[in-house]
Amino acid sequence: MTASAQKKPALTVNGLVKTFDVSAPWLNRVIERKPRQFVQAVNDIDFTVPAGGCLSIVGESGCGKSTVARLVTGLHKASAGEIRFAPGRAGAPLSAQMIFQDPYASLNPRWRVKNIIAEPLRELKLRNTAAEVIERVEELLLTVGLSASDGEKFPHEFSGGQRQRISIARALASEPEFLVCDEPTSALDVSVQAQVLNLMRRLQDELGLTYLFISHDMSVVRHMSDRIAVMYLGRIVEEGDTEELFARPRHPYTQLLLQTIPNINAPRRDRELATGEVPSPLKPPSGCPFHPRCPIATARCSVEVPAVRALANGTRVACHLATDKPASA
């Protein structure tokens, strides 16, 4: 077991399942004789987030990573399984807050920034007097690198990076110990992305935050996280220590993901990749969900769903063929 796995978990998730009903309306079903239809957005996943650490969930669009973020923060209700937060500083289960992807859509354009940030303070009655609320708002603005006078402005007066700082200040207002970040930098330019990532790392150190980080960008994930979970069609296919996962990916899907990231230092250029596409989550393949794209699939893969196994180095992998010895990659 690696050091980070021995730390006390801040969040433990067991057998989490989320099924969405995507059936056609009742009358259409009767007339066209269609059955009800369900999507298994999250399919029996387990993970833990170590206290003070950062677990990232990566995967392509539609793999269920954002659904996990919403389940953890209670924006969706789980169909089955268990989400358990460890006791926080006050003894009660630690509180979670969320930072969303699009800083243009997640801030109310008609509210002044000071009111956006003060809303959780007022709503949860964390400060008693108006003066205390103002003081706390100014403190939060300074924490995220804005100036106290910015509170009087409206969101449209800020650039994308500054807006994301406002979102972070709002998330921090209720003094959470756990932050769920759903693609917090995907809508930002690279030079600004670096500012926001640095800010998030600094806040993690200063405030002792635990992050659940959702992203599709492997280089951002590598920078931010201690552990990484790779999702494919609602399942976790590999979970392990960041450095280990990048150095020795065990699951063929992780290998494919790492191969296809544009690499500035070693561009692929004229090599054409036959990587296939993600199947529809409405009709997931039988057996291992990855087998139609897998270069090493055997007959067994198309029948039997691989169970998640722990390897000697602490990596957990869901593949019949993965071994303790790394594949020739």
Binding site: E60, V190, S191, P262, I264, D270, L273, E277
Partner: protein, 327 residues
């Protein structure tokens, strides 16, 4: 550039203005670039830097009241910035193909991909129905769509995102244009699909000797696809040169900062290099060098005078550091 006679597209000192109630803003000024046949020029920059607008200006698609207020655009040996709308319609699709970011909105959902392809082919090339359909099938095969004879009669919604973007590329290629302007062609796609589309674009460009202007904000895409790179900042071209040079030995402080701020897949660092501040708004571009408020090596001259693009080696950059000092 010395190879001006071989250039498919040659933009010289292009300037675009949008007159408004509160004065005129200049989203593009002094843009000079050229692309040769079979070459991919990557155009990078942050949102609002003017990279998409450069593409639109070349295609004559600037929205009113925007207008080209200076400079020249040459397509081969024909000047196209002075042409009227009707003449530009003849050029768009026929000589300049376009690929946009979102493959779902660039295809008409009510027509089969075959009818959209044959319509474009017959509009620009003198071909009969049967001949045009055969060409459409061939185009779909070229862009790597399996079973094109069957897929040609399908509607856009029956294709996946990556396959749809392939159809859009086929559409852009339908009249064998000399120049393709691809505006963020892979931004809406997943990484594993993105890699396929980039290599497809590269292969087609080399095979058909098409000049490609690849507009993107993603340095990774540039590294994989482009032959030369143009970096834009606040409506100006600040550095241009061969891809290895601009990415690995950039001369302009902005490009240097940009490259250093990208999280690396190699070694993990404690703190990413960051460029403080953000790009100025177009109505508040500082005097002198537009980058001076964020620049680490700013000098007195940078606040006074605007640096011109000056050729250094194979490339060119606009910075006083490389043109006699910032004092």
């Amino acid at each position: 550039m010395g190879e001006a006679e071989k250039a498919v597209i040659d933009v010289r000192n292009l300037k675009v203005e949008f007159p408004g109630r509160r004065g005129t803003v200049t989203p593009l000024s002094d843009i000079s670039l050229s692309i040769r046949a079979g070459e991919i020029l990557g155009v990078v920059g942050e949102s609002g830097a003017g990279k998409s607008m450069t593409g639109l200006a070349i295609q004559g698609l600037l929205e009113r009241p925007g207008r080209i207020s200076g400079g020249e655009i040459w397509l081969g040996d024909r000047r196209i910035d002075t042409l009227d709308d009707r003449a530009m319609e003849q050029i768009r699709g026929r000589e300049i193909g376009a690929i946009f970011q979102d493959p779902l909105t660039s295809l008409n959902p009510l027509f089969t991909v075959g009818s959209q392809l044959t319509e474009t082919i017959r509009l620009h090339l003198a071909m009969g129905k049967v001949e045009a359909r055969a060409r459409a099938v061939q185009l779909l095969r070229d862009v790597g769509i399996p079973a094109p004879e069957e897929r040609i009669d399908h509607y856009p919604h029956q294709f996946s995102g990556g396959m749809r973007q392939r159809v859009v590329i086929a559409l852009a290629l339908s009249a064998s244009p000399k120049l393709i302007i691809a505006d963020e062609p892979t931004t809406a796609l997943d990484v594993s699909i993105q890699a396929q589309i980039i290599s497809l674009l590269r292969r087609l460009c080399k095979e058909k000797q098409t000049a490609v202007m690849l507009v993107t904000h993603d340095m990774g895409v540039i590294a994989e696809a482009a032959d030369r790179v143009a970096v834009m900042y606040a409506g100006r071209l600040i550095e241009i040169g061969p891809v290895e040079q601009v990415l690995h030995a950039p001369r302009h402080p902005y490009t240097q900062g940009l490259m250093a701020s990208i999280p690396s897949l190699g070694a993990r660092v404690e703190k990413l290099n960051q460029i403080d501040g953000s790009m100025p708004r177009l109505d508040a571009i500082p005097t002198g060098c537009a980058f001076n408020p964020r620049c680490v090596s700013v000098g007195a001259r940078c606040l006074r005078e605007r640096p011109e693009l000056i050729a250094v080696g194979d490339g060119a950059n606009a910075c006083w550091l490389n043109a006699g000092g910032t004092a």
